[in-house]
């Protein structure tokens, strides 16, 4: 479509000039010539399409803008239809790249018409938000076991001894806990349930992890989108839930300090997520999980988001531009991440990703 615009504009300009000269309208002739000139000098730009995760959407928007200022010959179009949609569209080859918060399953990878590479592009934290209307808004300290038991329905009141033990001095009353979860499938749910699986065997056996899971029946509410979860929590005293760190930050919702595997209570922030990323074990195919990462300052509930591309690109021009953009995004683009509440990739991971990007053929 975009490639057709300039020839069409050019033809229109030519027509305008011809008509103007025929009618001896000097001004119109000048304008028509200008349009013609502009149309001729602008070569059609490369258009790269992507689709997928809503979590990555703010990062992509910022990167497209910054990259477009450097290289005007390429335009990007990203549709944030969800990780599932991104994977589906990549499999159908309607987009050049997909973005997903959960790695592609082996089944889906086997179905793909070519080899698909996972390229981690951002990492983000999941904040545990709550509404207790406490004076002075003290920070709550929670650990994985308590959070899992809340969502399993075993801990039902805020003044439960386990919570009181971690938070001496906080005036917790005997109000019921209402756990809120995401009713729509989401990468945030994937990271959160991945974490609960790693800290609570009962959760791993009964519920498992995924972008959508079977939440224990009768426990709590489901709300659509992070906005829905935050909205429910804001109105219901005693509610607890989870949302992307960026969302919790921008909406100034109180969130908890969570105990990590070293025993420290860490607040979610770009540097604590970076600390988790630095100690995470990243295998060769880059499909990894970083929940409950080792490290003193690591925040335990965090996860990466991946760009999915085919190793063999169909279109040489598009492929070249896409690889150039991705190389920029994993190196220079990471400098823009902390402002958006993402954790930048550590140096060693960036180097390994550049090596991976070099294997893309076009």
């Amino acid at each position: 479509m975009k490639k057709m615009i300039f020839p069409v504009v050019g033809a229109g300009g030519l027509l305008a000039v011809a008509l103007a000269i025929a009618n001896s309208r000097r001004h119109l002739a000048v304008v028509g010539s200008a349009v013609l000139l502009v149309a001729q000098t602008n070569a059609p730009a490369q258009l790269i399409n992507g689709a997928g995760s809503t979590f990555d959407y703010p990062a992509f928007t910022k990167w497209f803008e910054a990259y477009g200022a450097m290289d005007a010959s390429v335009h990007f179009n990203y549709q944030s239809i969800g990780s599932g949609g991104g994977q589906q569209q990549l499999l159908k080859q309607t987009v050049d790249f997909g973005a997903s918060d959960a790695p592609m399953s082996d089944d889906n990878l086997a179905k793909a018409p070519g080899k698909i590479l996972h390229i981690p592009i951002v990492a983000g934290g999941v904040a545990v938000i709550y509404n207790l209307s406490l004076p002075g808004s003290p920070k709550l300290k929670l650990d994985g076991d308590i959070i899992a038991n809340i969502y399993l329905g075993n801990i039902t009141k805020w003044n439960d001894p386990k919570i009181l033990a971690l938070n001496p001095g906080v005036p917790l009353k005997e109000i019921p806990i209402v756990p809120v979860h995401r009713s729509d499938g989401s990468g945030t749910t994937f990271i959160f349930t991945d974490y609960l699986c790693s800290v609570n065997p009962a959760w791993a056996d009964t519920v498992g992890k995924g972008p959508s899971v079977k939440w224990p029946a009768g426990i709590g509410l489901g709300a659509k989108g992070s906005e829905g979860v935050a909205g429910q929590i804001r109105q219901l005293t005693g509610a607890i839930g989870y949302a992307e760190l960026a969302y919790a930050d921008k909406n100034r919702m109180p969130f908890a300090d969570v105990k990590n595997s070293s025993g420290n209570f860490i607040s979610p922030a770009p540097d604590s997520v970076s600390a988790a990323l630095a100690t995470a074990k990243v295998p060769g195919d880059f499909r990894f999980s970083m929940v409950n990462a080792p490290g003193d300052k690591a925040y335990p509930i965090a996860g990466p988001s991946w760009v999915l591309v085919y190793q063999q690109q169909k279109d040489a021009g598009n492929g070249r531009k896409l690889v150039a953009f991705l190389k920029w995004a994993v190196t220079e683009g990471q400098k823009l991440s902390p402002a958006l509440d993402y954790a930048p990739l550590p140096e060693e991971v960036q180097k390994r990703e550049l090596d991976l990007l070099n294997t893309i053929k076009y």
Partner: protein
Amino acid sequence: MNETAPNQPAKNNAASQFGDRAFKGLTLLMALSVFVLIGLIGFELAHGSGIALRQFGWHFLFSSDWDPVNEKFGALPFIFGTLVSSAIGLIIAVPLSIATAVYLTELAPLWIRQPLTIFIELLAAVPSVILGLWGIFVMVPWLRGHLFPLLQKWFGFLPLFQGPIYGPSLLAGGIIIAIMILPIITSVSREILRSVPGLQREAAYALGATRWEVTRIAVLSYAKKGLFGAVILGLGRALGETMAVTMVIGNSPQIAKSLFAPGYTLASVVANEFSEATSDTYLSALFEIGLVLLGVTVLVNALAQLLLKTFAGPGVKPQH
């Protein structure tokens, strides 16, 4: 124009015959295209749910298990939620709508009829999402703080009104459906009542009936069939209502005795989970939910038409 002598029919020449036939054919095509469209929708849904149909069979309709991780799917909680929330919506909206329609046609002073009608139709113009937002931020807190505790105090002996009150619930979903179907039932009922012939009313007055008896005997029972048709139209809308219901129903796939418990409808689960469904079985199960919704709608409409046929006697058919 053909010149015709008086008392002679117009000449039937080939051109006007062709024009008539072409017009008839064209309108027939338009009417058939509606059938074709519905058939195509049903076919696509059936095609997409192939995997789930083969894997789960009839068990899908009776199982309460909705587990995307282990890929076990059952639609019973959603069918329950859809039917119950639509029923609550009808119970609240139908008496209100028909009473409003009776007021507008029989009792209201003439100067108020048009403005009131406009206001009611304005309610129909409110987009579903906006109503849902209003539901989350205004209606649900009010229900949680005021109406639900009152209901629990007065009717707490019934299991329907026991249990913890969160706010988002099956009852909240039913109330918002009632708000959405009120305008449509009111306007169609109003049209029906207006087309009751004046002679019927005059005959009743002549026999010595009071104002209310005239309304009851001459108008309402004459228009029974049409009013029922209006209710069916409202029910059709209620069954498919998605966004507003998703925002206030609590999105919890469970079958609970209490109306204060969160629920889930067929339309809501598709809206919530379709974009993130990655595996083929999951997608197929969601397609099958769509097929079930189509089936429920068709079944309910068919049942209603059957009931309609048992209403013997004259009646005004819905004209809209």
